[in-house]
Symmetry: C2
Subunit: 116 residues, 2 copies
Amino acid sequence: MTKNEAICDCEVIHQDIVEKVKKNMPDESELYDFFKVLGDSTRAKILWALDESEMCVCDLAVLLNMTKSAISHQLRLLKQANLVKYRKEGKVVYYSLSDDHIKSIFETGLEHIREK
Amino acid sequence: MTKNEAICDCEVIHQDIVEKVKKNMPDESELYDFFKVLGDSTRAKILWALDESEMCVCDLAVLLNMTKSAISHQLRLLKQANLVKYRKEGKVVYYSLSDDHIKSIFETGLEHIREK
DNA sequence: TTGACAGTTGAACAACTATTCAACTATAAT
DNA sequence: ATTATAGTTGAATAGTTGTTCAACTGTCAA
């Protein structure tokens, strides 16, 4: 058992396990960013809706009973995370999902909460 | 096109689509709570680690370079969300995943971020 | 060219939340 | 009994973030 040098306020109990897990831990901060984006219920609902159908900003605002501005702000984050894409048609901007991983993640999530 | 009664500041452009999507939207707030729990990187890392191996609070604190207190607070939230379970052995409390949905969600997430 | 509407954007605010700190319980060992 | 360590807990703090508000751009129609 060796004293830990840094912030941690305890001794290392299972050094071997910690080492093993540390090796296999992916340092991909993108992964955590990805789940952070899913972590807001407004964004989750938008993704859920877009999984059903392509929609414009107004449609989403009506559906979720929110302002266009609020929706637009969240769509920007979803765009940055490469979760949605868009196409313009005159004044109207149509958003849709950029890939289908989101659907399977939602489905696994539903399985989880229904198994109780 | 009918004016929307509530918060939304725009007219309904595609009434049919909004109606259709609204019908199919699950009102399961548990689902959004579930993703909210995953949305914090500390909790995501804890879950990732526990997917590798059962671990005690100290191990997790050393692994993530955080205090036992911080880890313990997050473990409480994961417990409430039924994502982890624990067993006591003397002074030591060992945590592990309560089901294996988390693993498949992480794997789908990794697929997503690697496809670019 | 003027008005109306879809959508975006930046700043400000309010609400939320992760971490810290200190005090505490419980178990084990000397 | 006393000391040491694992872990928990509640309150406080500090950082983060979702929404609002107002101003703006771009497109379409009269």
